[in-house]
């Protein structure tokens, strides 16, 4: 039995990485899915595409209107700029906060009135919204915004709508590689980081998609307002490398 049969889902940022894995998992579970991103549709995309920058509220509203009734909204689109506060420019602020914070707000505001009873919003927060990664100041702060907005939406729009956030840890995506590129010795840094995971590996986009399916499905009917961390045990451990002991 497919778990999302008959449900209409919209996933932001479905071109690649976690968003793409969520699109594919939703399709496999029987949902009707559309996705969006900046620029043209990727060639092999198995669902309709909207060329959309989520930081543009008017454009988001137009897409929501075209999409119509909705059951599942996944706010996955996100941008990471690897800088400290003093290195960050106004343009960095507009880019990161515009996409990660305002973008989530834009799409929630546009899609919520069109959401059917029992609808589910799944936001992508981050472990970095709770604990800081070095040189990710605006990114960390923007994800904390997502966590708090998640709780507000759950409180304001229950019982008809549920809203949760997934907080991924280190997932094998382009973003992860960009993070390691900051290290003096990326290969060693990657080994060091891997050793800190109780699971002995980094996450895969499918690991996050699996939680997104659960939260989108009626199985999660009592789950709302929560942050679900999927990080291979990384933040359950002290930041000391267990390899030292």
């Amino acid at each position: 039995m497919k778990r999302l049969l008959g449900k209409r889902a919209f996933v932001t940022g479905g071109r690649q990485g976690i968003g793409r894995a969520i699109v594919e998992a939703f399709l496999a579970e029987g949902a009707e899915v559309e996705t969006c991103g900046r620029g043209a549709a990727p060639e092999d995309l198995p669902c309709p595409w909207h060329s959309l920058d989520v930081s543009d509220g008017t454009a988001v509203e137009a897409v929501a209107e075209a999409f119509g009734e909705i059951d599942i909204l996944v706010n996955n689109a996100g941008i990471q700029v690897e800088k400290t506060v003093i290195e960050s420019t106004d343009a960095d602020w507009d880019l990161v906060v515009g996409t990660n914070a305002r973008g989530v707000f834009n799409s929630c505001r546009a899609f919520l009135p069109r959401m059917r009873r029992g609808g589910s919003i799944v936001n992508l927060g981050s472990i970095s919204g709770q604990l800081a990664d070095p040189s990710m100041a605006l990114y960390c702060a923007s994800k904390a915004f997502v966590h708090a907005l998640t709780r507000s939406i759950a409180v304001d729009h229950g019982p008809d709508i549920r809203c949760n956030a997934i907080c991924p840890g280190w997932i094998e995506t382009g973003m992860l590689e960009a993070g390691f590129a900051l290290a003096k010795d990326p290969a060693r840094a990657m080994e060091d980081a891997r050793a800190r995971h109780a699971t002995g590996r980094f996450g895969r986009p499918e690991d996050i998609a699996a939680m997104a399916v659960f939260l989108a499905s009626d199985e999660a009917a009592f789950a709302t307002g929560q942050l679900f961390t999927i990080d291979g045990g990384l933040t359950a451990a002290s930041p000391l490398n267990p390899g030292l002991f």
Binding site: L131, L234, A237, P239, P242
Partner: protein, 264 residues
Amino acid sequence: MRLEGKIAFVTGGRGGIGRAVVARFLREGAVVYAADLSEAGSLDRHDADGSRFLRLDVSDEAECIAAMAQVRAESGHLDILVNAAGIEIEKTIEETSLDEWNRSFAVNVTGTFLTSKHALPLLRAAAAEGPSASIVNFGSYDGFIADPGLASYCATKGAVHALTRAMACDHGPEGIRVNAICPGYIDTPMLQSFFTGEGSGAGGKSIGDLQQAVRDVHPLRSYGTPEDIANLVTWLASDEARYASGQLWVLDGGLSAQVQQMKV
């Protein structure tokens, strides 16, 4: 002086952190009972410091009752109780014997329960006179996130955190504040044992290298001193903290504020 005239009782009062708390309380003008298993506690020796020593095993209810009876007879009430006595078994659950598990809970959790339980009438008496009475428990950052090979210790500290909130909830209306301090890496005999102990598996690394590696992973690039902890205990014990209750106060040099350190 911030604790002038106050009566304080510190368990583990001759150990690493407890001893620093006792010394600071004395400087701040308190009358201090230092309770521990022996005069020298976990350190090699002890020089007279003006504290009143009480031999006490916090896991023994009769001894806790007797200790509080002595405080009542001598001082009439108690303003501050600091539950700093604690032990750490450096093992995974598979390596931990039932006796070790029970001993961890007996000292770290039951000890906090017993001293608090039997100090309550004395704390109530103090709260009736002054702004509030204060209990300061010792949790740990390990009660939130795990260090490897410290399973029973992590579990007991998580229990202390929950007990702290429960006590704050139950006894706040009586004017008794209850908080826990959650230290990170503090330079104490317990930490040195963690570095050198069988479970630490320094794996060819010298202790010095290991200590440096641990310092380097802290945003502040050092581990803390018992005096750092005593500073916060003093504040929580003082009337300045009269609105602070039911909270877990992490003091760890920023260690647990971060996800990950890329040092290479």
